[in-house]
Symmetry: C5
Subunit: 248 residues, 5 copies
């Protein structure tokens, strides 16, 4: 990642995207936690966890934003790198915490038997950790070949997870009250589409984007994906919980 | 925007306006959220969202204030620019988040059928995003011509939104309990007047204000508009919610 | 205001007074908001607003303290001014927000008819804004004559407000349950005495205090007045609310 | 107080003591306020105040810690003074706020008649303020003679307060439910012992401790005394309140 | 501890581990405290304390992270030490506070008679303090011999504590409702394994790790141990409390 290739405009755009991400995550957290009282006790834990995911993300967007601002200094109408590195690991550390939490939420939604719930959590959680740990060396690599190799490796657990989710969620739809089937279908679709976005964003530097444009596209792309996969998804989970509470 | 043309007095006045805006937004947030318990559960969501709007604004006024203070340094009885840019985008990012939230609140108040609620939210939300995105290049442009062009473009979605709101809110008045009709009328008027203020403030640099005076007028103008459209509006929504709760 | 005339002792004394003010305001805020649950719902709004007043003041004392510390740097056993100005406007911005809130509280206590409540709020709120806006140019003026002129101007709305409060509060005493009449009388007296303190403090630089002593006397004087008019007054309002709740 | 005589080890030890104090006070605050719901409404105010005392102390330990860190800079394996003074007044300002709050709590526990409660509060509160104000000039004095003189003066109100507390608390024991007599006796003993610790710590520089050792002993001594008199005492008050709630 | 021997990669890895620790502790705190409402009042205190332990740890990980970042500065692709020391004492101060709290939780779980509860708390708490105080001089020692000597000394109270816990917890299993016996057994195992991890991590610099690798292994090792012993353990305690609440 050649930070020195960024223009002032690109720098500012990414900075604004991070600040936007932070504001969205913090606002979603507050909204979700305030809405706990509108939800029957049985569904409250799911809403709490959704808010926890956005809270953790808000913390990491703050750190990402501070790291970004420390890496550059604006001089007149151009920017210079300060030597302080932009720490991309905050993103991966965030995922290491939030992806398992999201998977647990989805598995709980499937209403499986107790043993299956536990074994699924362990297998999917492990696969998610593997996916993220395999992705990181590619993200920070300078060489395109390395980036691609780790993408391929990371795709293996990724495909496994997505497959399990699609099968599991579709299969559980029939156990659900009728008034939420549409929403759960929507949530499943949202998960698949938003998750697919991550490996595509990762490929941007290999499919035409170079220099500052590549950095901008990657950072803004991940930020959009995070907003959909965490905040929008959390609101959907809340909507499902409210509907189910009314049904009772 | 020629920051170097500001006097110390203008700098301090704008700084105080930002601090005032921050204090008002934070105080309104706390007041709205504390008042949730005075409101029947059915109206609580609206009050929560009003407080979310002011909370998001409080965050952005903090960022705006910090960006403003970093852009200048006081030397004796005059000021110098530090080279660090004043980031106006925080304002537009704030609007991108809060204007859709305000529109959703207003649409909910209209009590439309479910399908209409969703389609209206999508159309008005989209128009609002367009309005703000078209306004930004004008705001940061140096040339008056560019500023004016984007003003004209941004006015198109703006007029559409205001027209929809006026028609929709007036039409919904008859569905409302009698004791709140006056307040809802007041809220509708407040929305229209405060929203109209934004494009007027935007024009200040084109209608006589120059240099430091233009910057001061724009920043203070937007701050006043924000206080009315967010904090005062939120209190009105709370008053409506309290009345409706009593009526039940 | 000649900051350079302050001694290290005076600087530290004022700094400690600001920190004390901040701690008192924050503690009062927490205490008032925690005590909401001891109060019947009808009186909760008054306690919430009392806490809001001290919360706003806590924010402004933080800003005042930071501005004070940035204006000086300690070198050995003496101090130097850094060139960064001490921003007295934070105090006036604070009053612009908190004085109307306090007046609203007092008017609500008077239990007037609805129309009178609204018209009194508008008139007294307007007079308070005028009083503070007229006082500010005097506060920051170098010349004694200017300071005195604006004092006289600001005294006009001040006398009007105090007169209205005394008459209104006394008149409302007979509508009150017997067990709180003493407390309400006490609150009315406290308001008048603490409010009278402000214009007297303002005059300190004109009645003998000079240089560092004048600055110290003014800043510490306002801090004491604020503690009485906001925190002590808030506790009295809470005591009245608790008594009234018990009476029901 | 000769800051330059501190060794790196002493500096770090005091810094760790302050950080420990801050963590204890903040944790005690949270614990006490969370425990409010375990206590009958009649005893909740006492628990709220206990938490307020530790909250105020947490704020002051933060300020003390920041002031301490600003006063020194570490260079290799030794330290240098930066010229920024270590502000001991934060401690005295803290006591000025928290000692009266603690006395009010103790007086409430005595369950006196209303008039006596008020007169005792005024007298003991006044004596406490006198004690602290008389102690401060001694604390910051360079000369041993001055330190001792103010110690003697401050001991007069101190002895009066301790005497009143011992007599009052012992006398009130018989009004208390049996299951809490032991705890109240314990609380009274804890108060007397922890309060006695303060004037002894104050004497450290006069009874053998010199240079860095004196500063270390005083700062660590006060920190331990504060933890016992505020946090441990608060937990005891909570225990008494829980027992009394169960008894009802 | 030779900070200068760290590579940039090791520095960043440890920094990320601290940030991860902070995020986990803060998220666990929020989750535990939100879950209080899912638990019967009798078990709420245990959940509150679990959250207090992670809250205290979050504060200390913040301090550890800030101390770490202040100790190094990144220059291009390598790092330099700044001279500001990395303060390992924050970790030991954290343990001094949190280990007794964890022991109290475990003793409460054992449901002993009142006298035994108190005597066990005193003995185990004292042994824990001794263990930590004896470990610290070894942690900061340069010489391997000193490190080992204090390890041996610290192991004595450690073995006593672990023995008491194993015996006590096993013995109390039969007093527990059947549906939680498995979980309590799990919690006991988790405690023993996670606690055993600490003295092993402490030995890393003596069993092959040198320079930057030793520092990295120790810091990351303790962080992992803390996450298991505090956050994972807290979640287990919550699970036990929820089950017991359902059983009632
Ligand atoms: C497949 C793949 C990746 C997948 C990342 C994903 C799927 C992240 C999901 C994050 C979520 C859902 C966060 C929400 O909290 C990486 C690591 C980019 C590396 C390249 C290959
Ligand atoms: C028409 C127009 C504008 C309109 C802005 C508006 C209408 C903003 C409303 C903001 C609100 C209501 C915020 C409250 O949360 C711009 C962008 C200034 C650009 C110039 C033309
Ligand atoms: C008459 C007068 C003044 C009055 C100030 C007052 C009355 C302030 C009250 C503030 C309160 C009550 C704050 C509490 O929240 C000024 C502005 C000093 C200027 C000189 C003349
Ligand atoms: C007698 C005496 C003193 C007493 C101080 C005391 C008794 C402080 C108590 C503080 C408490 C209880 C704080 C808890 O919130 C001083 C001022 C050191 C000065 C020397 C003589
Ligand atoms: C035996 C031993 C140690 C033990 C440390 C332990 C057992 C720490 C436990 C911490 C916990 C449980 C924290 C959770 O809040 C030390 C001090 C490393 C020093 C070397 C010998
Ligand atoms: Na920078
Ligand atoms: Na990245
Ligand atoms: Na500046
Ligand atoms: Na702007
Ligand atoms: Na300074
Ligand atoms: Na002033
Ligand atoms: Na320092
Ligand atoms: Na001291
Ligand atoms: Na650094
Ligand atoms: Na360590």
């Amino acid at each position: 990642m050649d930070l020195a290739s960024l223009s002032l405009g690109q720098y500012t755009f990414v900075q604004n995207a991070f600040s936007f991400g932070l504001a969205v995550m913090a606002a979603a957290t507050l909204f979700l936690w305030f809405s706990r009282s509108h939800v029957a006790p049985a569904y409250r834990m799911a809403v709490t966890i959704s808010g926890l995911v956005t809270a953790i993300a808000a913390y990491h967007y703050l750190q990402i934003m501070l790291s970004w601002e420390a890496a550059f200094s604006v001089v007149g109408s151009s920017i210079e790198v300060t030597g302080s590195p932009f720490n991309q690991a905050y993103r991966y550390v965030d995922w290491l915490l939030t992806v398992p939490l999201l998977l647990i939420e989805l598995i709980l939604v499937m209403r499986l038997a107790r043993d299956e719930t536990i074994s699924k959590s362990v297998w999917l959680g492990g696969a998610a950790a593997l996916m993220i740990i395999l992705g990181y060396p590619g993200e920070v690599a300078e060489a395109s070949g390395t980036r691609f190799t780790f993408w391929v490796l990371s795709m293996i657990p990724f495909i496994y997870i997505v497959y399990q989710l699609v099968v599991g969620l579709k299969g559980s739809i029939s156990n659900q009250p009728e008034n939420v089937r549409g929403l759960i279908n929507g949530a499943a679709t949202l998960v698949v589409i938003s998750w697919l976005f991550y490996p595509i964003v990762f490929l941007f530097p290999l499919i035409g984007f170079t220099g500052g444009a590549a950095i901008t596209a990657v950072e803004v792309g991940y930020t959009i994906a995070d907003i959909v996969a965490k905040a929008v998804f959390g609101i959907l989970i809340l909507a499902i919980a409210i509907r189910k509470s009314e049904a009772e």
